[in-house]
Structures are given as structure tokens and as C-alpha cells.
């Protein structure tokens, strides 16, 4: 049996509880095992971002507990949470992931600097990461000189740098053209299969959904369906 890395119990998040309450996340149970490659889908406003933020410790649920590798992150102070995120969770945001004044290499290295990793080890790790993302020749380049897809790959490299328990990505391909989107997916898939990196990402893109090994569909803040294997299933019906 594989380790359970994410274990969310009964979590709820309500916006505007006093006026017109919005149940952005409504009593969700969710388990994620090490090595999973999971897509979070659902219509706009269904609560994908909210759920990812709760799991990533960027927001607190109104109810419920979230265990990451056994630690209940809903009990951590804001300060402890920052530290926890640094060591346990990799983030890839939709855009503007990188610090514009640093080179691609320095951006990926940043997490390691925050963790106080020694220089020799940093250099080794970063070179390895850039080999994996296929951007060794762009290491000395600033983000502004990279394409959107390349920037997202550097963001993945940064998220991976500290070998986190899992990587959360909220619509990582939303700002990419389809070629770049699939290229990023290839990278994520390869990392997942070759290094057992756990991914949880949200998306609207059917082609991206097709690549996921597990798809969780949210509707109105609740899980409408959850499939472990999609490889054989027919594509979702989309207008």
C-alpha cells in the first residue's frame, strides 16, 4: 500500500457567510496517494481553485481537517504554514511564477536557497532539473526572454527543486497555446512516471484531462465523480 500524502476530511469553505453564502467547497473528502497524477475538473466556479488553495495551505477551511503526510495543516499557525509549504509542497501557478530579476537557473534555485541548501548540492540539483525540463541552454536567461511554456517549465523545475511531497498546479496550461500545453503535460507525466512525483492540477482543457490517470470532477463545491483510471474511458462530453 502506498503512502497517503493528502487526506482531506469533511472540508468546507464558505464565502460571504453573513450575506449570500457561497459554498465554494462543500464537505469534501479526498485522499491522494503518493505517485498519483490527478486532474481536478469542473465548470467555472465549481471550487477547484478554492480546494487547491486549502490543500496547499494558502487558505484555511471553515470546517474539516487536512492531513499532509500525517500533519494536520489546519492546525498550523500562519508562520508555521509558510515553513511547511517550503518543505512539503511545490506550487505552479497559472502565470507570473518567476522572479523577473533572476535568471531561470536562479529562479529554480530559489527554493533551495530558502532551505539553506549548500551551493554544490544546489548546482547539482538545478542542472539535473534543467536537463529534465530540457532547458539547460536557457539557464542563464531571464524569464522575460522565455516563452510562456518555457516559463511554466521553469516553474515546474522550481516546484520540484526541494523534492516536495506533491505539486499543486492551478490551471498550469491556461495561458499556453496547445503545443506548449501538451509539451508541459509531457514533462509532468514523465516526472510522474520516472520519479513518482505526485501531481494534483486543475484544468479545463479536455486534452489535458485525457492525460490524467485520475480525474476528480467538482460541481458546486462537491465531488460529482472520481475515477481512478481514465485511459480507456471515452472523452468527456463537451459541447
Amino acid at each position: 500500500m502506498k503512502n497517503i500524502v493528502i487526506d482531506a476530511h469533511n472540508i468546507s469553505k464558505v464565502y460571504n457567510p453573513e450575506t449570500i453564502p457561497v459554498y465554494a467547497v462543500n464537505n469534501i473528502h479526498l485522499h491522494l496517494q503518493e505517485g498519483e497524477f490527478t486532474a481536478l475538473v469542473g465548470p467555472s466556479g465549481s471550487g477547484k481553485t478554492t480546494l487547491l488553495n486549502l490543500i496547499g495551505g494558502l487558505d484555511k477551511p471553515d470546517h474539516g481537517n487536512i492531513y499532509i503526510n500525517g500533519t494536520d495543516i489546519t492546525k498550523l499557525s500562519a508562520r508555521k504554514l509558510i515553513e511547511f509549504r517550503l518543505h512539503n509542497i511545490g506550487f505552479v501557478f497559472q502565470s507570473f511564477n518567476l522572479i523577473p530579476v533572476l535568471t531561470a537557473k536562479e529562479n529554480a534555485e530559489f527554493i533551495l536557497l530558502l532551505q539553506g541548501v549548500k551551493r554544490a548540492e544546489r548546482d547539482k540539483r538545478v542542472l539535473q532539473l534543467f536537463t529534465e525540463i530540457g532547458l539547460v541552454e536557457k539557464m542563464k536567461v531571464r524569464p522575460a526572454q522565455l516563452s510562456g511554456g518555457q516559463q511554466q517549465r521553469v516553474a515546474v523545475a522550481r516546484a520540484l527543486a526541494s523534492k516536495p511531497r506533491f505539486i499543486l498546479a492551478d490551471e498550469p496550461t491556461a495561458n499556453l497555446d496547445s503545443v506548449a500545453a501538451l509539451h508541459l503535460l509531457d514533462l509532468m507525466e514523465a516526472l510522474n512516471q520516472e520519479e513518482q512525483v505526485t501531481f494534483l492540477f486543475s484544468t479545463h482543457d479536455p486534452r489535458v484531462i485525457n492525460r490524467a490517470r485520475r480525474v476528480i470532477t467538482l460541481v458546486d463545491g462537491s465531488i460529482a465523480s472520481d475515477s481512478a483510471v481514465v485511459s480507456t474511458s471515452a472523452p468527456h462530453e463537451h459541447p
Partner: protein, 405 residues
Amino acid sequence: MWIVKLAWKNLWRNPTRTLVTVAAIFFAVILSMVAEALKLGVFENLVKNVVSFHSGYIQVHKMGYQDEQILDNSFSQDNTTASLIANTRNVNAVTPRLEAFSLAASAELTKGCLVAGINPELENNITQLKTKLVAGKYLKGSDNAVLMAEGLANSLKLRVYDTVMLIGQGYHGATAAGKFVIKGIVKFGSPQLNNGILFMPLPAAQEYFSAEKQITAYILSVHTDKLLPTTAVAVKRVVGVDYEVLTWEELMPDIKQHIATDSNNMKIVQAVLYLLICFGIFSTLLMMMLERKFEIGMLVAIGMKKSKLILLFIIESVLTVLTGCLAGMVAGVPLIFYLHYYPIRMGGDTAKAYERFGFEAIFPTSTDSTIFISQALTVLMIGIALSLYPIVKILQLKPLTAMKK
């Protein structure tokens, strides 16, 4: 160390903004240094002027003389008192004077004037009387002659080597009368002095006023102006209760008032300046925080501790403010020295106001080295204090809110 590098790179993120901030601080330091140097310089210059034309820094009179300046309020000159005063700490020089009003007359004209019996050598040490000589020769202690102020001489239509008649009241109601040769003409900036004073050696004056051994005042100069009040107290202790000891500020309260007003005006200028600096620095900080809000949120999200972020911003501020301050000092020091040797010259009403007191309306800067440090430090402090704003912002920051577009 990487954090210093990142701070440095961040300064080049928007070079124009950094440059504008540095320039604002640079000019702020220069302006506030010049303002302070002027404030102190004008003060020093006025004091020097005031003291050197007649009053000295401190005067010792018989008790009551200041309110009723008559010969009957004179006291007998005694060498032990004089040397006691001279030996008081911070006292530089002492000279006796016998002063009273008389009528001066030429062949057809008469005019009231102050007759000052002086010790020519000692007097010159304190008020530089010799430098005011415009015609003739300076007095010797044994002369039976006078130095006449230029304006008075003109009113009486007298010139050097002419004779002036003096008539007045002497000590204890005696009649004073005498004829004196004008040995020299002296010129004063102050109209009051220039139109109404003449000097003669003390023994001659004592004889003229029938006031043997009597004087009306000891005039003192001091080493440093800063210790003036304590020096006055010390002198008072030495001379005892029969005497009054007055500083130039008490002797000429109107001039003191004028200086105080000027220095307050300068303080207002400085306050406005500091306020402008604050707004200047603050607005760039505001812009910067707005521009980097998303990024700061992202950094906290991926696990950068707020203490590290704060350190980053402090380093950025210190680098900016320090560069501006140092550059300002480097440029400000020569400027202040220049304005010391080539002082600002005022015209119009200001000039008239100063001329009324007998000063030239020039404003040399003080080159007191504490100015450079104190002003640069003040601006530095303002800069550092203002960088509390980003710190507070960072402390309050929630990553999700910051990353909302």
C-alpha cells in the same frame, strides 16, 4: 548573502525609479545641509557683528546701570576685580569703559553724542575698533584726543585734526568741558553708532568727566559663544551682588529677537523640506509595493519567510537611502564651503532690515562639521523610518489576497 544580491538586482528592476529616489535623497541631503549651515552661519555671523561693533559678549556694570545709564551709576576701576574677571573660565579679554552723553560742538554746529572712554589697545582686542578707522590715526593710551564716528563728524562738518568742543555733566554734578583734537575718523555700519559716538582714552575721559578712577562698564569677550550663559553666571559669582552682569542678548534684546525669528524661519524651511522628502520617498515606496504585490504574495506562497522578505526590503531601502545620503554629503560639503567664502547676499527689504542694525545683509554658511553628519543622518533616519511601510505591508500580507488580480 544571496539576499543582498537579490536586493541589488531588485534595485535595477526599475532603474528610473531607483534613480529618482536616490536623486530625491541626494538633493534632500544637500538642501537640508545648506539650510542648516545657513541657519547656523547667519547666527554666527550676526553674533560676531553685534559683538564686534560695540557691546562685547558680556558687560559688567554697577547694579542698576542698565536701567539708568548715568555717570553716578559708575564704579571705581580696580585691578583685582578686572583680573578676577579675566581669569574666569571662557573669558578671553576684558576692557574698561567710561561712557556718558555730552554735547559736541564745532564752530557753528552742536550735536549730542556718546563719549566713550576706552583703553585703546584692550578695546581693539574685543571690538576691533582699529579696523573701523577710515581717516587719521588710532588712539594711544596717553593721548588727549578723540576718534569720531564718521556720521557725527559729517553732521558737525569736522575732519581729522579739527578740534571738537565737548560740554556735558560730569560725575556728581560737576560740569564737564573740554577741547579735543580729532585724531581719527571711524566708520560703523550701525547708523546709531555712526551718527553719535566718539572715543577718547580712558584717563582723558575720566579727567573730562571729573570721574577719577571711575568706569561704567567692563566689556568682555569669550572664547566660545556656546558657553555664554554659564560664563555670565561664573562672572556674576566673581564680582558679587554690587554688580550686574549682562550678556549681549540682554543688552540688545531686539537683535536677539531678530536672530531668533530668522532661525525659526529657517526651521520652517527645513520642516517643509523634510516633509517633501517624506512624500517623495513614500510615493516611490507606494508604487514599488503595488508593482511587486503579486510577486511578494507568490514568494510567501512558495515558502519564503516574512522575516526574509523584510530583510530583503530593508537592504533595498538602506542601499538606496545610503547611496543618496553619501552622494549628497560628497556634493554638499564643497557647496557649503563655497557659500562660506562666497556668501549669499540679500537685497531689498531684508537688506534694509539688516542695515538698520548695522549689518551687511550677507549670509555665510557655517562650516561646522556636525552639520554634514547631522543632516545626512536625519535624512537617513527619515528614509529608514519610511521603509517601515513595506515592512508593515509585508507583515499584513496574505498570499492569496496579494495574488488576486
